[in-house]
C-alpha cells in the first residue's frame, strides 16, 4: 500500500471541507464564538448544542463511520479535514473526541463497538477517557477497575466530558486493561469539572461507583486497540492545531497590514514580517505532515504511527509559535480578554499537551530512528 499523490484528498473530501468551512464561518463567526465562550454569563454552557445537532445532521459525526453502521464511510482524511476546520473555528464541541472515538471503536472491531458507532452516526457525542492520572494512555496508568461488568474508580483528563453522551473508558481487570462503553447518564457516574485555561472546551474527572459498562475490548487487549488507534488520535489533534494556527497567522497578518506605528504598517518591519513568515513555514510543514499522516491511516497503516508522530510534533510547534507571535504582534490589545486571539491562544495551550507534546513525539521518532537509549 502506498500514499496517493493527492493524499487521497479528492473532490468529495474537498466539497465536504469547503462546506464545513462555510458553515462554521456563517454559524460561528469569531465575534459570536467570543461571546459564547468568553461572554462571562454565569453558568452559561459555553457551547451551542443546537449547532452540534446541525453538525450531526450534516453527517459530520459519522463521517468515518462505516456505512453498515449508518455512517458516511468516508476515508479518514475527510475526518481530518473536518477537524482542521473545527480548529480554524476554535469550535466548542465534542467533535474531535467523537472522531477519535470512531477510530478506537473501529479498532475494537466487534458488534458492541459497531453499536456505539451506530450511535455516533445518529449524532451521539462520544468522549474517550483512556488517559490515566499520570498522563499515559498505555499500560498500567489507570485508576478504573472493572468487576462483574461494572466500572469503579476515576477517569482523568476526559475532554468535553460535559458534552458527551457516551464515554469510552479504560479499566483494569485481573487479566489487564480492557475498554468499555459507559452511558453518560448512567447511575453511579459523576463529573468533577476541571478549571482549565482553555475556554473553548471542558475537561473533567469522572467518578464511577459500580457503573454498568459494555465491554468493547476484553481485559488484556486495551493496549493493542489503543495502539491501533493512536495514529488517528494524534492526527485529529494535529488537525485542530493546524486549523487554529492558520487562523492565528491570517488574523495577525491582517492586523500587521492595518496597524500603523512610526507611519508604517507594522508588517513593514522585519521584526514582525520575518517571524510571521517563520510561522507560515512551520504551519506549512505541519499541514503537509497532517495530510500525509491522515492518508497513511487510510492507505499505509505500517507507516502511519511514524507519520502521526511527525504530524503532532510539527503541529504543536507551529501552533505554539503562531499563538505566541499572535499575542505579541497584536501588542497591548492582544493581551486583553476582549481580543479574539486569546480564545485561540488558550485552546492551543491545551491542544499542545493533549496526547503528548512535541518533545514527547520527537522522543518516539528518535526511538524509531535509533532504538531506545543504550541499545
Amino acid at each position: 500500500m502506498s500514499i496517493p499523490s493527492n493524499f487521497g484528498f479528492g473532490e468529495e473530501e474537498q466539497t465536504l471541507r469547503d462546506a464545513a468551512r462555510k458553515f462554521l464561518a456563517e454559524q460561528l463567526p469569531t465575534d459570536r464564538l467570543h461571546r459564547l465562550v468568553a461572554g462571562h454569563q454565569a453558568g452559561s454552557p459555553r457551547w451551542d448544542p443546537a449547532l452540534w445537532e446541525q453538525m450531526a445532521a450534516l453527517g459530520w459525526t459519522g463521517v468515518g463511520v462505516p456505512e453498515r453502521c449508518g455512517g458516511v464511510g468516508m476515508p479518514f482524511v475527510a475526518a481530518v479535514a473536518l477537524a482542521e476546520e473545527a480548529g480554524r473555528a476554535a469550535l466548542p464541541s465534542p467533535l474531535i473526541g467523537t472522531l477519535q472515538s470512531s477510530a478506537l471503536l473501529a479498532a475494537c472491531g466487534n458488534a458492541e463497538a459497531d453499536a456505539v458507532l451506530t450511535q455516533i452516526a445518529s449524532g451521539k457525542a462520544v468522549a474517550p477517557g483512556i488517559t490515566g492520572p499520570r498522563g499515559g494512555w498505555r499500560g498500567q496508568d489507570c485508576a478504573l477497575e472493572v468487576q462483574g461488568g461494572c466500572l469503579s474508580g476515576t477517569a482523568h483528563w476526559v475532554q468535553d466530558a460535559a458534552k458527551a453522551d457516551v464515554f469510552l473508558l479504560k479499566a483494569r481487570g485481573s487479566a489487564g486493561t480492557g475498554l468499555y462503553a459507559v452511558q453518560a447518564d448512567a447511575p453511579g457516574l459523576s463529573l468533577q469539572p476541571d478549571a482549565i485555561v482553555d475556554l473553548s472546551r471542558d475537561q473533567a474527572r469522572l467518578s464511577l461507583a459500580s457503573v454498568p459498562a459494555v465491554e468493547l475490548a476484553a481485559p488484556g487487549t486495551a493496549d493493542s486497540v489503543i495502539a491501533a488507534a493512536e495514529p488517528a488520535l494524534f492526527t485529529l489533534v494535529s488537525a485542530d492545531l493546524c486549523g487554529a494556527a492558520e487562523w492565528l497567522l491570517q488574523t495577525t497578518v491582517e492586523y500587521a497590514r492595518v496597524r500603523q506605528q512610526f507611519d508604517r504598517q507594522i508588517g513593514f518591519f522585519q521584526a514582525v514580517k520575518h517571524p510571521l513568515v517563520d510561522v507560515m513555514i512551520a504551519i506549512d510543514s505541519a499541514r503537509s505532515h497532517l495530510y500525509n499522516a491522515a492518508s497513511a491511516v487510510d492507505h499505509d497503516p505500517a507507516v502511519s504511527l511514524r507519520a502521526a508522530h511527525m504530524a503532532k510534533s510539527a503541529a504543536a510547534e507551529a501552533a505554539r509559535f503562531g499563538a505566541s507571535r499572535a499575542v505579541q504582534f497584536h501588542g497591548g490589545i492582544g493581551f486583553t480578554w476582549e481580543c479574539y486571539v486569546q480564545v485561540y491562544f488558550k485552546r492551543q495551550l491545551h491542544n499542545e499537551a493533549l496526547y503528548g507534546d512535541a518533545a514527547w513525539h520527537r522522543a518516539r521518532l528518535a526511538e524509531m530512528l535509533l532504538g531506545p537509549v543504550g541499545a
Binding site: T131, D141, F269, Q328, L349, A353, A363
Partner: protein, 411 residues
C-alpha cells in the same frame, strides 16, 4: 561581613546596620490575602492596604527615598538606597505597591519638576500614601509612543485635557498620573509636553477610569478617558514642547538605565522572584507526570531547565558585572538589556512550567488540583505583558542595536 558590605562608605556602613536591625524587628506578618506576582497586578483594596502599610513603615524608618533631599520627603543620604534595597531584598519583606511612583514618576519629577512641585508631591509618593500611574500609551500609540494624540490645550495658566490612555496599571487606585500629551499638532516629537495630573480628585469630573480585563481574566490595568479636564500650569514638567525629553528620563528609569536607584523590596529570597523560578520548576518537575513518565526524567525538560538556569543566572550576573568598570565595554550595554532579558526569561519559565506539568499544565488558578496553584499558565500569559508593555521586545532590540552597537536607526 557580607560581600556587598565590604566596600561600604562610613555612611553606608552605619545605614546598613540601621536597615538590618530595623528590618529584623519590623518585618510585616504574612499577608492575610493572596498577593499577585507583582504590584502591577494588585486587584483588591485588601492587597493594596497590606502593601501600603509596609511601604509606609519602611518609609518612616528611612528605607525609602534615602537619597532624595530632605525637603522632598527624602533621607538626604548619599548612595544609600542601594544599601537599603540590598537589605530589604535579603529579607522576606513584600514588595512596594507604589511601583510606578517610585520607579518612574519620582525621578522624572525630581529632574524636571519645579522645586515647589517636588515638595508638593514627592513626600506622599515616597511614603506610598498617594499611588501613581503612568499615562503614556494610547490605542494608536504603542511602540510609536511619540504619536500620542491626547491633547492639552492652553488657556492662560490652565490646560484643558482631552484624550484616551490605555494599559494604565494601578489607575483605579492612583491619586496621580504622569501624563504625556500633545500640545502642538504640527510637530511630532517637539509637539509633546509632560504633566502630573491629580486624577483621583477629578474622577467623575473630567476623568473616567475603566478597568480593562487581561487575557488572564484579571484586571489590573485600565483605560483612562479625559474630557475637558482642567489642570494648572504649575503641574507641567520642564518646558512646553519638551515632553519627549522628559519622557526619556521616565523610560530610562523604567528600563533600569536611569541615574536614581529605585527603592525596591522583596524579590530574590521570597521564592516569587526570579531566583525562585528554577527551583520552583525543579520542584514541579519532581512532582509532575507527563505521558506516564516523571517530568524530571524527560531529557528535553532537563535540557530546557538547564538552559533556563544559565539564562537566569547570566541575567543576575550581568547586574553584578555592570558595576565592575573593567569588565564592561559600553556604559549602557548591560543595563539596557535588563527589561528584555527579564521578560523573556519570565516567558520561557512560564511556558516551561506548563510543559513540565503535562496534562495538568492547563489547570488554572481556580482549580484546587492545579500544580503550584496554577502559577505557570498565569505567569506565561502575564509574561506577554512584560514583552509588550514599556517598549516591546522588538523596540528593545532596536534600542540595543542603535544605542549600543551603533547600527542605523530602523524607523
Amino acid at each position: 561581613m557580607s560581600d556587598s558590605a565590604r566596600k561600604d562608605s562610613p555612611e553606608q556602613s552605619a545605614f546598613r546596620e540601621h536597615c538590618r536591625s530595623w528590618i529584623a524587628a519590623n518585618l510585616p506578618p504574612p499577608s492575610p490575602v493572596r498577593l499577585p506576582q507583582s504590584a502591577l497586578e494588585i486587584m483588591t483594596r485588601e492587597q493594596l492596604d497590606y502593601l501600603c502599610a509596609w511601604q509606609k513603615a519602611a518609609y518612616d524608618a528611612g528605607l525609602v527615598g534615602c537619597d532624595y533631599p530632605v525637603d522632598c520627603g527624602g533621607g538626604g543620604r548619599t548612595d544609600c538606597q542601594r544599601v537599603a534595597n540590598e537589605e530589604m531584598q535579603r529579607s522576606a519583606a513584600p514588595y512596594f505597591p507604589n511601583i510606578i511612583g517610585l520607579g518612574m514618576a519620582a525621578p522624572t519629577v525630581f529632574y524636571h519638576g519645579s522645586d515647589a512641585l517636588k515638595r508638593q508631591v514627592l513626600p506622599a509618593l515616597l511614603s506610598g500614601e498617594e499611588i501613581w500611574c503612568q499615562g503614556f500609551s494610547e490605542p494608536g500609540a504603542g511602540s510609536d509612543l511619540a504619536s500620542v494624540q491626547t491633547f492639552a490645550e492652553r488657556r492662560g495658566d490652565r490646560w484643558v485635557i482631552n484624550g484616551h490612555k490605555v494599559w494604565t496599571s494601578l489607575a483605579h487606585f492612583a491619586s496621580w498620573m504622569i501624563l504625556l500629551a500633545r500640545t502642538d499638532k504640527s510637530s511630532k516629537y517637539d509637539g509633546l509636553s509632560y504633566f502630573v495630573v491629580p486624577i483621583r480628585a477629578a474622577l467623575g469630573k473630567g476623568v473616567t477610569v475603566r478597568p480593562l480585563i487581561k487575557m488572564t481574566g484579571e484586571t489590573g490595568f485600565n483605560e483612562v478617558i479625559f474630557e475637558d479636564l482642567e489642570i494648572d500650569d504649575a503641574l507641567r514638567l520642564d518646558e512646553v514642547g519638551k515632553g519627549w525629553t522628559v519622557a526619556m528620563t521616565t523610560l530610562a528609569h523604567e528600563r533600569g538605565a536611569g541615574i536614581l536607584v529605585t527603592p525596591q523590596s522583596g524579590g530574590s529570597r521570597r521564592g516569587d522572584g526570579d531566583a525562585g523560578l528554577v527551583s520552583a520548576l525543579v520542584e514541579l518537575a519532581r512532582q509532575s507526570w507527563r505521558n506516564g513518565q516523571c517530568a524530571a526524567d524527560d531529557p528535553v525538560i532537563r535540557d530546557r531547565l538547564a538552559q533556563l538556569l544559565v539564562r537566569e543566572e547570566g541575567f543576575r550576573l550581568n547586574l553584578k558585572r555592570a558595576r565592575v568598570a573593567g569588565l564592561t565595554d559600553h556604559p549602557m550595554r548591560l543595563m539596557l538589556q535588563y527589561k528584555l532579558l527579564m521578560s523573556e526569561v519570565a516567558q520561557e519559565a512560564g511556558r516551561l512550567g506548563m510543559d513540565i506539568a503535562g496534562n495538568a499544565g492547563s489547570l488554572y488558578v481556580s482549580d484546587p488540583a492545579a500544580p503550584q496553584a496554577g502559577r505557570w499558565p498565569l505567569a506565561y500569559m502575564n509574561s506577554f505583558g512584560f514583552t509588550i508593555a514599556a517598549g516591546t521586545s522588538e523596540v528593545q532590540r532596536n534600542i540595543l542595536g542603535e544605542r549600543v552597537l551603533g547600527l542605523a536607526k530602523t524607523k
